[in-house]
Symmetry: C2
Subunit: 222 residues, 2 copies
Amino acid sequence: MKTLRILAIDDHEMTMLGYKFILENIEFEGYDIIVDTANTYEAGKKLIEDSVNSFKYDILLLDVQLFAPNENQPHSGEDLGILARKLVPQSKIAFMSSFSDNFRINSILKSVDPDGYLVKTDIDPKTLEDAVKTIVLNPPYYSSKALTAIRKKMANDIELDEKDKQILYHLSMGTKNKDLEKHIRLSPSSIENRKRHLKSLFGTENENDMALIIAAKNRGFI
Amino acid sequence: MKTLRILAIDDHEMTMLGYKFILENIEFEGYDIIVDTANTYEAGKKLIEDSVNSFKYDILLLDVQLFAPNENQPHSGEDLGILARKLVPQSKIAFMSSFSDNFRINSILKSVDPDGYLVKTDIDPKTLEDAVKTIVLNPPYYSSKALTAIRKKMANDIELDEKDKQILYHLSMGTKNKDLEKHIRLSPSSIENRKRHLKSLFGTENENDMALIIAAKNRGFI
DNA sequence: GGAAACCCCCAGAATTTTTAAGGATTTTCT
DNA sequence: AGAAAATCCTTAAAAATTCTGGGGGTTTCC
């Protein structure tokens, strides 16, 4: 009987216990599943670092948003994922996220290229079991809402460069027009040019920025 | 008992009978599944056109390569998909393909944005059942090998414009360097510039075109 | 050996992007 | 309501990028 080691990191302790219970009771031919847990960024980081010189985890299950203890700065699970890819490239990485935010999904798929991505409202015992088996045997596993976001992205023929993406992102965060230049290395008039260009790409000519953001959201860019 | 109508179009008659048998025996709560079949492009097209004014199919299951009778020109299922999207937008569309060719998958995901994509070697009775249920209830469904191609694409941060893609595509098809200019509206020296640029993007500087193609394939572009 | 194909580099031309400046319109705030 | 601020649009010159044609070197294949 081989052992399948899973490390789950989520700052809600009770939900994590739920995962642990479900995961450890999965029937998986030839495998005995053991779940370690951590509920802070720091604790998780430590366990991953420790694993480098001992038993590697087969799967790291990372919550996208994590709070450090006694802080109100959220650490992103994304950072932890990037770190883990370097330290323990053998371990498969899967993310769990509360929101099916296109921008976040796209970003994580690029930066970490995880073996799984689960939107939390998609998770139930059955999908969790499917996910674990798929991630081990035949990755990747993307849950239904994640797939919807991925589909939007793949169906798009609009190509945006980094600056365009930054403009869209900051606009969507409510950044005022005149403050954009502080975030993006371009002159105000260039930003306007690009905004106009973006509006024509998304078919929202002569409409305001809100229309642009909505169109970009629908197409999966934000 | 509602009826779920599926139209399967594949030029190999026997495999299609296999699909029909499996599909019509699926247990799907509240649905009675009926499968129509066609084994040529023309026959399929006709059935789709006829369906406009009668019962719409719930799912169109299209083989990517189709041969017309008495011709040796293959018609692409992609064309049929594009047509069907216009004529019967209510019908869900799923593709079946023999090869898990990244270029083809990317192209179809853009042009048709199908509700399902199945690589044939991934298909067995269970996945076919999963696929149908997912496509009806909660699309999209992508089979394992399709997901692998999609994953490669999503994980990439290299952005190529149309001309770059054309160059890669034609190179991968074995087009000779000096014939590239016949396919791509660029001067020979521009093509060289772009090829050099591509090689640096893919980290194959000072290597030959083969190395470039292999790198591009691995990253999911071709 | 010789022709054809491939690969590399250069410099001017052509194109696209950026920038600054000026003005019109709308929004916000008092 | 009126002033100030922010947004939106246009234009024209500067800057950056891309395209192109040419020269020349190396490899490949008759």
